[in-house]
């Protein structure tokens, strides 16, 4: 498992090698990075700034990156940290109003252990278009949104997510579980409001 910007030995890159690593290993992930930044900030200008800041930071700390290890996870971790430190306070997050309720309902350990059932049918989800699924995703509090983006959209493993988010794997699993329960509730609400379930009963 590659280390991501931790206590790894500093690499003695020449200036030429730095540019080579940057262009070969970092730049190919720029669309994924932008998509992640946009889904976190929900704002194009903030996403532009966040991606730019992250890449400049990555270049500044490139000696901490070992060539051939997991560049995408390494970059995502920097972006996530930049978001928390610099952007989170000012990001426009529509779910903020509901966050306290969500925390109370979903963020306790007990909540994750209780049985969660939904009568949402897979056929209903199949009928939904991308914008509707995206709206449900975007309505989740950012910590829950983040794990779903990393796992389901970007395809990171639990181990990689644990490194990116600085949390234990068990917390990754339970946060994902809670996030998905919340997403299903949102999809169900959305489906009902759009009349998707009208023939189900």
């Amino acid at each position: 498992m590659p280390e991501i910007m931790s206590d790894t030995q500093l690499q003695g890159y020449t200036d030429e090698q730095k540019y080579e690593v940057f262009n070969k290993e970092f730049m190919p992930h720029i669309d994924s990075m932008y998509n992640f930044a946009f889904r976190l900030t929900m704002d194009e200008d903030d996403a532009n700034d966040l991606v730019q800041d992250t890449y400049l930071k990555a270049f500044r700390f490139i000696s901490s990156f070992e060539q051939g290890t997991n560049a995408k996870a390494w970059l995502f971790r920097i972006l996530k940290n930049s978001f928390i430190n610099d952007y989170r306070k000012k990001s426009k997050e529509p779910a903020k109003v509901d966050y306290q309720d969500v925390e109370t309902t979903y963020n306790s350990d007990e909540a994750s252990e209780t049985e969660h059932t939904t009568d949402l049918r897979f056929e209903t989800v199949q009928d939904m278009i991308g914008d509707e699924v995206a709206s449900a995703l975007n309505s989740l509090p950012v910590d829950f949104r983040t794990v779903i983006i990393l796992c389901d959209i970007e395809g990171f493993t639990y181990e990689e997510m644990a490194k990116i988010l600085d949390i234990p794997i068990g917390t990754v699993r339970s946060r994902l579980h809670r996030a998905r329960n919340l997403l299903k509730d949102k999809l169900k609400e959305y489906a009902a409001s759009m009349g998707y379930n009208k023939n189900d009963d």
Binding site: Y19, F22, M27, I30, D31, S32, M33, Y34, N35, F38, R39, A47, N48, V51, Q52, Y55, L56, F59, E113, T114, E115, H116, T117, T118, L120, R121, F122, V125, Q126, M128, I129, G130, D131, V133, A134, L137, I148, C151, D152, I153, G155, T157, Y158, R173, L176, H177, R180, L183, K184, L187
Partner: protein, 78 residues
Amino acid sequence: MKEHCEHQADCLKRIQSILDGGASEAEKDHFRQNMDACKPCIDMYNLEKCIKEALQGKVEKKCCPEKIAAAIRSGIAK
């Protein structure tokens, strides 16, 4: 075929681990042995798989504007 699952919460976690590729061999074995016999688990599996596929395939993936990539390149060239 079971119409009710008494372990639904645990089964849901196991199903999610399997779909995420993070399940242990024991979890996969348990799933293979029991899945076909439990209707709620089949429904949960189908729903979880469908949502995951919708997130992967239907949600628009935003691409980085070229001007940002250009700004990054010029930022490191200084």
